[in-house]
Point group: C2
Chain length 211, copies 2
Amino acid sequence: MIAPKPKKSLNPSTLLAPLPVVLVSCRGLAGSEMDKPNLITLAWAGVINSDPPMVSVSIRKSRYSHQQIVDTREFVINLVNQPLLKATDYCGVKSGRETDKFADCELTPVTAEGLSIAPAVAQSVLSLSCQVRQIMELGSHDCFIAEIIAVQAATELFDKQGRLRLDKAGLVAFSHGHYYGLGEMLGFFGFSVASKKVLAKRMPKKVKGEE
Amino acid sequence: MIAPKPKKSLNPSTLLAPLPVVLVSCRGLAGSEMDKPNLITLAWAGVINSDPPMVSVSIRKSRYSHQQIVDTREFVINLVNQPLLKATDYCGVKSGRETDKFADCELTPVTAEGLSIAPAVAQSVLSLSCQVRQIMELGSHDCFIAEIIAVQAATELFDKQGRLRLDKAGLVAFSHGHYYGLGEMLGFFGFSVASKKVLAKRMPKKVKGEE
């Protein structure tokens, strides 16, 4: 039994953690002033529906990428692993209005499956092609409600049986202003009610450690 | 420079990772059949706005908690750390229609600051009191758009200077069906453009390691 925790009140704030950190790629309308590939880093991103697969990403109106995505209704979510982290942090600080973030970070825009305008980041291990379905104005941010229409994952992430091993990707989480690697695997969905046989197969170290 | 990754296409799915895993607490309307404290575990949760602070959580219509939250328009997001993980997994598998998850997991419902109906979980290190502003029907899930109106954090998480040290909480992330502890701190927001002085102060081990 876990002891109840005495609590202290804080001002209301966005203290949900950990969060994803993603590198979003986009591009302005063809022929417009904004017709160039751009990147923005976001932690205000999440899954909101399973079928159809949908995500939300929230962006301040002042950001260059905001107008590009409003105009084209397309963006790509590129997952961030440790080799991509420094570039990802940079893309969260700098503005596409002043610099070419793809060039600055030595990243390559490539065609994103299913989209006609927004590029994917060639160096990311996994990209989600997203089409905007709705934009909600919430205050500081606009929330883009989007459907995932295609997924592309690095071939290096598949095992011999052809299964996606996202645990091998070295993904990064965001928590209270800091980036963290993922640490120890603590369980799988349903482990609390799984049989000993299933636990021994799926969490061999844990089961041995408890004996 | 990072090499571009050859990619393989997958069917569209919710492969955004890592994600938060949260224990949401709620309660039905007073006097109704559903007037009992309940818990549901969600990974489809995220921040969607900074000012006012807002979150989204998505829940299937079939879940018991769904109707409770629709009726009361209140819920609490309780952050999950390692001691709370087994209970959290259990609450994602079981239904409040058939069992009392607070009792099963030896958890205690307590008053959540700012709310009149939904309780918080006394054993969680941090609770966000949420009021629903809008419900979006997306398909498999309904997405609850909510404002965070109060935050309560365990006193044990504050250092001598009174600063919240969420890094001491042992929070858990969810990725591709598995739970993970947070591992190494890899940087802070803005580290890619920070001065050596700031880096030496905020990431002493990293800076030393690079020398």
